[in-house]
């Protein structure tokens, strides 16, 4: 899009259109934005381009990466060794100064992601983090009582499984590659992606198949459908 003001106002962003009725904080932000443009710190339209960039990203990207890794061992190896390159293979452009690392859940290890210092999150892939991820409660407790925190999300990690918490407070952003749940042997990639929620990619949940009591680490043996 070209960066003229006229274009921007015609741009159809539901709910994020510049608005004369916006509150005083919005007015202040607009004033700061105008000053930054005036001082050539930002170019006209930079803020909108960044909003568009972020709005175009969602946990669906992460679900696609996981589903492909479940059906394609070569892709899985690539995802674990170079997440950025693997994402690009699926058309997800995560280029930028930060690195991405995917950590794999196994029958022995369950991974959980947090950023204690702020809210570092793989935004270039998943978009914006959920509000709870930024809460003081999650950020402080995920590091020192991760099992209790996951229990509150409905995820009980068996005692013999190692819980690995990753505090992503520097230049690397983390994604969890969950285990493929039993009972999904006949499913195609698209349906598999449908099982992978945002919370699975952070590690506070695991993919579940309705009617199959499984998915949590340590319950890898398929149980009969009830």
């Amino acid at each position: 899009m070209s960066g003229t003001h006229h274009d921007l106002e015609e741009h159809g962003h539901e709910g994020v259109k510049p608005s004369a009725e916006a509150g005083r904080y919005a007015a202040r932000i607009r004033a700061i934005e105008a000053l930054l443009v005036e001082k050539s710190v930002l170019a006209e339209g930079d803020v909108w381009r960044q909003i568009e960039y972020m709005e175009a990203r969602s946990p669906i990207n992460g679900a696609k990466l996981v589903a492909r890794a479940w059906v394609d061992p070569v892709f899985k190896a690539s995802l674990l060794s170079d997440t950025k390159a693997a994402a690009l293979e699926l058309g997800i452009d995560a280029s930028g100064p930060v690195e991405f690392v995917t950590v794999e859940n196994t029958p022995e290890v369950h991974n959980l992601i947090v950023c204690t210092l702020c809210s570092c999150y793989p935004r270039a892939i998943l978009g914006r983090p959920p509000d709870w991820y930024k809460s003081f409660n999650y950020r402080s407790r995920a590091v020192n009582e991760p099992r209790a925190v996951m229990r509150e999300f409905g995820l009980e990690i068996p005692e013999d499984i190692k819980v690995a918490v990753h505090d992503s407070s520097a230049d690397v952003r983390y994604l969890v590659l969950p285990m493929r749940p039993p009972g999904t042997e006949g499913m195609g990639e698209e349906d598999l992606a449908g099982l992978v929620t945002r919370d699975c990619l952070i590690g506070v949940s695991v993919p579940r198949v309705e009617g199959v009591r499984a998915g949590a680490p340590g319950t890898a043996n398929p149980t009969p459908r009830r």
Binding site: P97, E99, V101, T116, L117, V143, N144, E145, P146, R147, A148, E159, D160, K162, V163, A164, V165, H166, D167, S168, S169, A170, D171, V172
Partner: protein, 100 residues
């Protein structure tokens, strides 16, 4: 950047500095001993970037692993539970070799 000083498996102690300002080393690992898991690359120094600096020279960044029971008194999880934090080299010093 200078060549990375530590290798995976090295025991390191996180400096216990109470440095003011913008740092990316969480307080709860300062003074604690952990293990280098992997080298993550070199990145511009956030302690300089935060104040309008160039961030140069770039600083080596490592993923450092800690036993949860070494970090928290009365940790309620399991002995095998671990916590990993990404730390810049200038916050790390060699620690005595010991078996995990």
């Amino acid at each position: 950047m200078t060549p990375a000083k530590f290798e995976p498996g090295d025991r390191v102690r996180v400096r216990a500095d109470g440095r003011p300002g913008h740092v990316r080393t969480p307080g709860y690992v300062r003074g604690k001993t952990g293990r280098i898991e992997r080298f993550l690359g070199a990145f511009k120094n956030p302690e300089s970037l935060a104040y309008g600096g160039s961030g140069l020279p770039e600083k080596p960044l490592y993923k450092v692993g800690f036993r949860q029971t070494d970090l928290w008194d009365g940790y309620a999880g399991r002995a095998q539970d671990a916590l990993y934090v990404d730390l810049y080299e200038h916050w790390l010093e060699p620690a005595r070799k010991e078996t995990l």
